[in-house]
């Protein structure tokens, strides 16, 4: 047996052992409930009901373990989606390079899979050791889904190993399609796992299927289908794809920097670009999933909604705005640097400064806070907390205008990038260009008009409503321009893109995107959890441990930063391991 195979087996055995070890514990609650034939109310706990371990902060332990597990799980769920897509594209286009990249990534995800299981086990142990009563209560309700979870865990493991070790033997003819089927099974079971775990998490935020005292009505479907389950599933699914893309792009960027020849450079440049395109493409619909999530939070409890969007956490969304702005700036920079990959790229370089100006300006509007931080001198000369010029920019309508224009101009960067290597030859090329320009102008005018008119000159009911037609305008322009571009560039003069012809600097944009994604996931995960405030299960089961207080943003940011560094270090280690493994393979 190959040593690598042995190590993987032992890791899987370890993960399985953990599960076997802890599962009976889970079921004890469920079995007790079934034996008595009734579900009790949620336990009321006192500070003494929480076991203490000297030198360990229970919440920090669980927080870190959960965060690590989530990051790795996001990665492990996203990579197979990627790999499967690449494999299918490779089969359709009959190009070997897709297959090669796909296989390279699956190898990485194999190690990451073990670590996901380990961190998951760590989280479970932490929860059982430090919050036994909560876990008992949750397992009395969710016992049956936990069994399902274990089942899918084994299905996913089996599919993953079959998929990986079957790659080479099943690489031709009908077997290839069977192999793709296995990949499909892998993704389906992985996504199902996530949906099941989401039910537990969302139940803690917006409990359903239980009465005020926490007595369960016995129908598991009621508890699973709580308010946030649907939006959370969608939001996490999309975000995972974006996240996986960004990590793959960062990996490619790192290999690009260390590439020895032009051919290798070109390969990793292409890989980084493709992965980044997927990441940014998945990022665009994410805000809408986020809106849905927030709307459901408000629908469940207005109090929870206000805690989220007003007061304490309002500043957290300013931080989010800064990070997403930085992300967009980096993505655009990467595109601009890529202009030189095409033969005609030079002619678009002079427009970059205008694109940059608009994107930076909208970015600045986007993170302008409504309540300003003033020194006493400034406060006295302004005569209040608000600035006559900046005040309106701090409000939602201005931010909606800004973000839509930012999206449009990012798309414009993308259009110019696509034209860097092809010239339309159809007769109506000029008319087509004029049409696109007209579309952009009309869209921007429409977005600004909607925002200004409904945002500042009508009552507040329309303020929120106007964002829908604004977004519709943006999406329409993007779709329409893509259609025009497609028609215009049929049979156009297309020059081969010169992959690898980008400066090293541009690769750092990909690192920034990956780091920002990771950090942002940590921070937004914190606020998602923090709006439960001092509840284990919101409004049903109170947290009476000494750690029940809501931490400040600064505390959370520091925690997330430490977590990000640990996570990044482990990821670097995994990549290094897989690299080592492949060098060994070459020697064999």
């Amino acid at each position: 047996m190959k040593p690598r195979f042995k190590s993987i087996l032992s890791l899987t055995a370890l993960a399985a052992l953990q599960l076997l070890f802890v599962l009976p514990y889970f079921f004890s609650g469920a079995l007790a409930a079934e034996a008595t034939g009734a579900f009790g109310p949620a336990p009321v706990l006192a500070a003494g009901d929480y076991p203490k371990v000297t030198g360990v902060n229970p919440r920090m332990f669980v927080w870190m373990a959960a965060q690590m597990h989530l990051w790795f799980a996001a990665f492990v769920l996203a990579v197979p989606i990627f790999v499967l897509l690449l494999e299918v594209v490779g089969v359709i286009r009959k190009e070997k390079r897709y297959d090669k990249v796909a296989y390279e990534f699956l190898r990485v995800s194999l190690t990451a899979y073990s670590i996901t299981a380990i961190t998951g086990g760590l989280l479970l142990v932490g929860l059982i050791v430090f919050y036994p009563d909560l876990m008992k209560y949750l397992s009395s309700i969710f016992g049956s889904t936990m069994l399902l979870y274990a089942l899918f865990f084994f299905v996913e493991s089996a599919a993953l190993y079959l998929y990986y070790y079957g790659w080479k033997p099943m690489s031709s003819g009908g077997l290839k399609w069977a192999h793709i089927g296995v990949g499909l099974l892998l993704n389906a079971s992985g996504t199902t796992l996530m949906f099941i775990a989401n039910a537990w998490v969302t139940f803690m935020m917006t409990p359903a299927g239980v009465d005020m005292a926490g007595v369960f009505d016995g129908n598991i479907w009621h508890a699973v289908r709580n308010h946030l389950w649907g939006p959370m599933n969608l939001h996490r699914f999309i975000a995972n794809i974006a996240y996986g893309g960004s990590i793959v792009a960062a990996y490619a960027a790192y290999r690009f920097l260390g590439a020895s020849g032009d051919k290798e450079k070109a390969h990793y440049d292409w890989m980084g670009y493709t992965a980044n395109l997927v990441a940014i493409g998945a990022l665009l619909p994410l805000p809408f999933a986020g809106y849905w999530l927030t709307a459901e939070i408000y629908a469940y409890s207005q109090q929870m909604g206000i805690t989220l969007m007003g007061g304490l956490f309002a500043w957290l969304f300013i931080i989010q705005a800064v990070l997403i702005g930085a992300l967009f700036l980096a993505a655009n920079y990467y595109l601009w640097c890529g202009f030189k990959r095409g033969v005609n790229g030079e002619r678009y370089l002079k427009y970059v400064r205008y694109l940059a100006f608009v994107i930076a300006a909208t970015f600045l509007v986007w993170f302008t806070p409504h309540t300003l931080i003033l020194t006493p001198e400034e406060a006295s000369s302004l005569g209040g907390q608000y600035h006559p010029l900046l005040g309106p920019l701090g409000l939602m309508p201005a931010k909606n205008i800004a973000v839509n224009i930012m999206l449009l101009f990012t798309f414009l960067s993308f259009l110019l990038y696509r034209r860097s290597h092809r010239t339309p030859t159809v007769k109506w090329a000029r008319a087509g260009n004029a049409m696109e320009a007209a579309l952009f102008t009309a869209a921007i005018a429409n977005i600004i008009f909607l925002g200004v008119y409904y945002g500042y000159f009508t009552n507040s009911v329309y303020k929120v409503a106007s964002s829908v037609p604004q977004v519709a305008t943006t999406l329409f322009v993007i779709a329409a321009c893509l259609v025009i571009e497609y028609l215009m560039h049929r049979n156009s003069e297309t020059a081969e893109l010169k992959w690898g012809r980008v400066p090293d600097r541009s690769q750092y944009a990909l690192f920034l995107i990956a780091v920002s994604f990771t950090w942002l996931m940590g921070l937004m995960g914190f606020v998602r959890s923090a709006i439960r405030q001092h509840w284990h299960v919101y409004s049903v089961m109170r947290d009476n441990s000494p750690d029940a207080f809501t931490p400040s943003i600064a505390y959370a940011a520091k925690t997330v930063s430490v977590g990000t560094i640990i996570f990044m270090a482990i990821v670097a280690f995994i990549f290094w391991l897989s690299h080592m493994g492949r060098e060994g393979e070459a020697d064999e």
Partner: protein, 175 residues
Amino acid sequence: MNNFIKVALFSLFIIGVYTLYSVKIIPPITPEEPPKEEASGQPATVEELVALGEQVYNGKGACALCHSPVAGRAPLLENAALIAEDRIKERGYKGKAANAEEYLFESLVDPSAYVVPGFGAAGTKDTVSPMPAVVESAIGLNRTEIDAVIAYLQQLAGVEVTIEVEGLKTEEAAR
């Protein structure tokens, strides 16, 4: 320099900037302590009752979250106890309250009994209140706490506190 070190330093720098921004630039706001689980004993005097009411109003009851000029989601309550008299005489009033105190009680435990015009949930034409009943899950006030809030509102509006305190009553009876 080694590529790995370069990338690691770059990533650390980015994380550092984000941390610095979150910790130093944005204003430090300390979240409120979790509200106390139970009222500390039965209030014995009107002052204690009002003090408890104020505590519940700003803490456990989370009333101030919506009933504030900043949020603008719900009517301000500074004068609520004063104008309650007029509310129950209004033609649109369909509730069961016969006096101001009962009106306040009704508004707390059954917010939709009468909705102040303009403050109904969206699309219900002011027939359904967006406010949760205070006896329900997320807030869950007990009878003493509800009485305390009513007493606090009466004190706030400057009208006579009509809520009777158990301890006070027995004291008077003894006299």
